[in-house]
């Protein structure tokens, strides 16, 4: 077995207890903490004890905790997340159908954050302590302090309502929403597969503001890490050597420094998926984006308990998989990492 394969397997085995603990924490948070699901669902409405009991039996929360825990875990293992109490459709089915929308948004957000954060960070590092550097650092800190939902709304006010460059919300506009037939659920990909230029333009215009919102919110962190990492590398002896050899600054930065500076940046990049999902909740709410985060929000507002639990478990599993992939990705970036 090759080294990488063995490492992948080890890492996979380590992910299992992690996921297990995460699922347990979710179970405990949702069942043991004050406010049981039934009263949360009823939202303080007065009901007779009989009705309350019937709800408890229906949701299975009348049984002792260990029994509930076993049912919960075995359900998840079998891929059964329960049925939504509002629509009575299987929660997992609903989540899977909405998943591509969230991923599409997250990927484009990450792309924008990557381009913006990485380029500004590297630029700042190569111009350290000069006016451009200070300007970029202020931008990074401001991006940290910005409430994401507010940024989204500001974009809507100026680019959608005032300038009318982009649509205010949604994934598809007007006629297109009825005529466009998705294949994979990733609309950008679908439009390309169907070779439909008009649809593609519409989809990208709808995607622009939400992904820019999500992207800018993450730019600060990526930019700061890029800058710090690049500064660290530029301070190394081999960079001095490269300069002493008479190489141009461009070659030194692009060929010698950049690749070494990339390692911590990729780490942060991967870890951002958690923040990205958190940001997606707000972005999807602001832009009425039909993803899993907006499903979770609707489940919360209608107190659809199983849908809440299902969404949280789904997101937890997804994050674990992403973390695993990022971990395995290191070796491609840094040939020194051997497994």
């Amino acid at each position: 077995m090759s080294g990488l394969m063995r490492y992948a397997l080890q890492r996979l085995l380590l992910t299992i207890p992690m996921v297990f603990i995460l699922l347990t924490v979710i179970f405990l948070v949702l069942r043991v903490m004050p406010g049981d699901p039934v009263s949360a669902m009823l939202g303080g409405r007065p009901v007779s004890p009989e009705v309350l009991q019937s709800y408890r039996v229906k949701m299975g929360v009348d049984r002792p905790l260990p029994a509930q825990y076993v049912t919960y875990l075995s359900g998840i293992l079998r891929g059964d997340f329960g049925n939504s109490m509002r629509t009575s459709t299987p929660v997992l089915e609903e989540l899977l159908s909405r998943f591509p929308a969230t991923i599409e948004l997250a990927l484009f957000g990450l792309l924008i954050a990557g381009i913006l954060g990485f380029s500004t960070g590297i630029l700042a590092a190569t111009r350290a302590d000069r006016p451009l550097d200070h300007g970029i650092r202020v931008f990074h800190i401001a991006s940290f302090a910005m409430p994401l939902f507010w940024l989204g709304l500001m974009f809507q006010v100026f680019f959608a309502v005032k300038l009318k460059w982009f649509p205010v919300a949604g994934r598809l506009g007007g006629q297109m929403a009825f005529s466009f037939e998705p294949i994979t659920g990733f609309y950008v990909l679908d439009a390309i597969l169907r070779w439909d230029g008009k649809a593609l333009a519409d989809i990208v215009r709808h995607l622009a503001l939400p992904s820019l919102t999500l992207g800018i919110a993450l730019t600060g962190l990526l930019g700061r890490v890029s800058r710090a990492s690049m500064l660290e590398v530029l301070d190394q002896d081999y960079i001095t050597t490269a300069r002493a050899k008479g190489l141009s600054e461009r070659i030194v930065v692009l060929r010698h420094a950049l690749r070494n500076a990339l390692i911590p940046i990729v780490t942060i990049f991967g870890l951002q998926f958690a923040a990205l999902m958190g940001g997606a909740v707000l972005t999807e709410t602001v832009f009425s984006w039909p993803g899993i985060a907006s499903y979770l929000m609707r489940a919360i507002s209608s107190r659809d308990y199983l849908a809440i639990q299902g969404s949280v478990v789904f997101i937890a599993l997804f994050i674990s998989v992403i973390n695993l992939i990022v971990d395995l990705f290191y070796s491609t970036i840094d040939p020194r990492v051997r497994y």
């Binding site: 603990i21 924490v25 903490m33 800190i141 409430p147 994401l148 006010v157 309502v161 958690a274 909740v281």
Partner: protein
């Protein structure tokens, strides 16, 4: 406990120790703060917000217009000389509302950070110092919680607890526990291996005493830097929770809720109802962030020199 190691009673408590450090820090501060513009700006911003919030709590109509009862202005008016930041759909002055709108954010952020700091640090010290299966179990649990998006966790918790200041404090406080756990555990692991800990162990000091008197004080610097960044983040989280409708019930002024309210009038171009509360959130969060930057520079001179 050995008589060799007897110290005056006041120094026994961690709190007193922190206080002593703080006073020393302030008295030495004049010198240390020279050139710390970032820190100073941050402190000024945060104090201005605290003062403003306290004033509006005592005297809500400080601008001449009451934030909740005022009904004399035109409806949805853009900024004018009388109403600097315009009025909302219930003819209330937006400026008066944003001045008092930080109350929930500040209370929740400070209380939540206090909860997570105390819980997370205690667990971190114990876990890092003790080691063994307890450390492994706690670390795995904390890592699992940490890997989950904190915003979603906070939203789900508030949804379970019910909305308002109390539930928000518990939810946000819970979410940040791993942040402190990770920092203090890492520091405790280092301190555990030092010679002086070995020495006092030889004298016969108990485990709890070593943790509180020797491990804990060594992590204070790290905790301080983390907690300022954490406060900046907490302000944003609380704002988001209010925006989603889990905050103060109306008509109380609240930045997050006021932005949500303004969203309904966005299509008609009422930008002022959204813009100004948002700018307040940014400024306050920025203030805490700058304090964090400043403290990190202070406690880590290498970082200061390198300006990383």
């Amino acid at each position: 406990m050995s008589e060799l190691y007897e110290t005056p009673p006041i120094r026994h408590s961690l709190l007193a120790d922190c206080a002593v450090r703080l006073v020393r820090g302030i008295t030495r501060g004049r010198h240390a703060l020279r050139g710390q513009t970032v820190l100073k700006v941050g402190v000024v911003i945060v104090f201005a917000f605290l003062l403003m919030t306290a004033l509006t709590q005592v005297w809500p109509a400080i601008t001449g217009f009451h934030p909740t009862q005022y009904r004399d202005a035109p409806r949805l008016e853009s900024p004018t000389a009388t109403h600097w930041m315009g009025t909302d759909q219930l003819q209330r002055d937006v400026f008066s509302r944003i001045l008092g709108g930080g109350y929930a954010s500040l209370v929740v952020a400070f209380a939540a950070v206090a909860i997570s700091m105390i819980t997370g640090s205690l667990l971190g010290w114990i876990s890092g110092y003790t080691g063994g299966w307890l450390d492994r179990a706690l670390s795995l649990t904390m890592d699992a919680v940490y890997s989950f998006p904190s915003m979603i966790l906070a939203i789900v918790l508030v949804a379970m607890f019910g909305s308002g200041i109390g539930p928000m404090i518990w939810a946000v406080g819970f979410v940040y526990i791993p942040t402190y756990f990770r920092v203090t555990r890492a520091e405790a692991l280092q301190v555990r291996e030092t010679t002086y800990v070995e020495a006092i162990k030889a004298i016969g000091a108990g485990r709890m005493r070593i943790i509180l008197r020797h491990v804990a004080p060594n992590t204070v610097n790290a905790i301080m830097a983390v907690s300022s960044f954490n406060l900046a983040d907490a302000i944003l989280t609380v704002a988001a929770l209010s925006f989603l409708g889990f905050g103060l019930p109306p008509p109380a002024p609240d930045w997050g809720f006021d932005i949500q309210n303004g969203q309904k009038y966005l299509q008609s171009g009422s930008w002022w109802m959204i813009t100004f509360p948002g700018l307040m959130i940014i400024t306050l969060s920025l203030g805490f962030g700058l304090i964090g930057e400043g403290i990190s520079d202070l406690v880590n001179p290498r970082r200061r020199r390198r300006r990383v």
